[in-house]
Symmetry: C2
Subunit: 405 residues, 2 copies
């Protein structure tokens, strides 16, 4: 049976990044540039006043207080027209260009105005450059602003706006179809009959996708009916990724692998040596050179969540053009002993909390892969190797789940 | 001048949580319940098979292999109709209810079927409860499922679905209007003239709001024109929060405080003892008992970002009904020495990276509040007290910015 690492490698090998598009900057949060953005202007584009006040020659202000002649007033957005000579100054607003001749700004709070004369009383003589941001101090034209392959943050979005990047060349937000299967499953809004349960996986996976920066496309529920399942799968293959839950274990009623094959989805693997989530199925549909990744996730909700975190998230990163394949590895210290009596590696729900000594991992009360209540009290998982017993204080690999703080 | 802590307290005192609404579960990621949700059913609602296989009496299987008579087949979604007696078993699918009499499931992989007889060869005799999840093992009816005042995670969304909560009682997603002011500012799509710059704050703040789970309502740009500014402010007061950037320092052209007063916005404070971001303005508009929080953020982009993180985010948490007032405090170790020559506390952009010994804070190259390029290389800020010089290795308070990993 495939290891988690080999399964991840097989997924990444099967999936090329999706092609670039031009997206409005306002919709680009979390998307990745497909080429680096470079500065189109010096920033700031001119020596810029950083406070409201008076632009002075610092050499004039060696012994404050000093009284100078105000030769001009320059609001932000306007341009100074005169050169500041000895004994002169210009009234200036935050953000305005510094006039020629001046090399410092003294804040308006430290001034007393009298007609065209002003007395300035800084506590100490201003240094050249005081309250001035020099042209190009932040970045010079041509320098790299934002790297490709890294999700755009709010500051990066602001920076791209400052340099005129709108629209931006990015991999568009991934659309991911979500389909729950099984005759035993009814929608959340319905009261289950005998032997039935409500669908937790559909809402869970849609929320996890949104938290991971993708757009979920809910396809609802389908029972164990070959024709209905086939129709829904074909609908889902229009998305970038199709997630199914349920119907991938060994049972006689597990139609999913057969229907996927009939729809032209090429199986890459079925089953991974992991707990929970062993029956995971992965394949690719090559629709006219536009591949759709297809995951068959197990029906137990914590198995589905684990499969999403371990396998779907790396696939989303790859498809979205992220340069790093996997999230940053975390290490955490167990607050309690944990045993894994089985032979498969266990990704056990834990509550991760930062402490001054690093991350702590507290094992939540958890009754296994059907226990979503336990998992909802966690914010991630700790890897407990097969057939092992870890003591409190031992260090484990840890993973923070999407949408959890 | 107000301290950061006093300013935060004043903001939180002025803002009650917004009232509850009933929202579709599919739109509730990150929102807070206004009352705790309790289990409506035992979970699982019946003793549930956790694998495809044969439901047996464990007492029959003391010396495997054992051959039993298959008296019924129960797919998931169906209900067993017969009681398993000695020497009998029932074929069962993952998720199906366990028949009366049976107390364990043996996986189908370990079976060999011959007509109505099956030979089961588990490696060891099954324990009672093997591959069975007992009714109520995850949660019993009436127990608290999800607390109020905590942002809903994907697992919590799935859990609420399992218990039929759709719609859910939550504080609805906050709508936050964003308005950039100043004659010197032009849109990202336009080429700045002399003395002009493109608007970075509008796109930055809209992205930060989306990253923090609110819905940005972009109002665009307005110049230093009283009538136009008044019209835009009135439009913004329809939102839960209005963010303005620029126009709040001491300059003659800073119209914002006056226009806000004219529009009935009551000033709570103006100016905070912090760097960057000192000129921050905060007030409240009491529109028919539906208060709108109004922030005047400074025009320099890193000042605006700092004001958003320190003051707007706590306000959003309060309005959204979060029970904890502030994000979890982080502590990080500086990788390099940092000086703060000024007397105000400095929130300096840093790159926070988890290490086995806790968080490391690397001070990025940064030229001050106008340097968004430096800030875009950071993912948070470290607090450097006024007039202090911290050596490499010293511990600082740290804050991770919204939308940054």
């Amino acid at each position: 049976m495939l290891s988690v690492a080999d399964a991840c490698a097989a997924i990444l090998d099967a999936l090329p990044p999706r092609p670039a598009t031009a997206a409005p900057l306002a919709e680009a949060l979390g998307l990745c540039l497909t080429e680096p953005a470079r500065a189109t202007v010096d920033s700031p584009p001119f020596d810029k006043a950083m406070m409201d006040g008076y632009a002075v020659r610092s050499a004039d202000c060696g012994g404050p207080p000093v009284t100078l002649t105000v030769i001009e007033e320059v609001p932000a957005g306007a341009v100074p027209t005169r050169t500041v000579g000895p004994g002169q100054c210009v009234k200036i607003m935050t953000g305005a260009p510094l006039p020629d001749g001046a090399d410092a700004v003294i804040p308006v709070e430290l001034s007393r105005r009298d007609g065209d004369r002003v007395t300035l009383s800084p506590p100490a003589p201003p240094q050249p450059g005081a309250a001035v941001m020099a042209r190009g101090a932040a970045v010079e034209v041509g320098a790299e602003l934002v790297a490709a392959g890294v999700p755009l943050t709010p500051a990066a979005i602001g920076l791209l706006a400052e340099h005129g990047y709108d629209p931006v060349p990015v991999v568009p937000r991934l659309r991911v179809a979500v389909l729950s299967t099984g005759d035993e499953v009814v929608p959340a809004s319905q009261t289950p009959g005998p032997g039935q349960i409500r669908d937790a996986n559909g809402p869970l996976l849609a929320a996890a996708l949104a938290a991971a920066g993708a757009t979920p496309v809910p396809l609802g529920l389908v029972g164990d009916d070959r024709a209905a399942l086939t129709a829904k799968v074909r609908e889902g293959l229009a998305a970038d990724v199709l997630l199914l839950s349920g119907g991938v274990s060994m049972g006689d009623y597990d139609l999913v692998p057969g229907v996927l094959a009939d729809c032209g989805v090429r199986q890459v693997f079925h089953k991974v040596n992991v707990k929970p989530g062993k029956p995971l199925w992965f394949g690719v549909h090559d629709g006219d050179g536009r591949p759709t990744a297809v995951f068959g996730l197990p029906g137990n909700p914590v198995s589905s969540l684990t499969g999403f975190e371990l396998f779907v998230r790396p696939a989303l990163r790859r498809l979205a053009g992220r340069s790093s394949r996997t999230p940053r590895r975390l290490r955490a210290r167990l607050t309690e002993a944990v045993a894994n009596r089985g032979d498969r590696p266990l990704y056990r729900p834990v509550r991760l909390t930062p402490t001054p000594e690093g991350l702590a991992a507290e094992p939540v009360r958890w009754a296994g892969s059907g226990d979503l209540h336990g998992a909802a009290g966690a914010n991630g998982a700790a890897l407990i190797p097969g057939a092992s017993h870890l003591a409190a204080g031992e260090t484990v690999k840890a993973f923070r789940w999407a949408g959890c703080e």
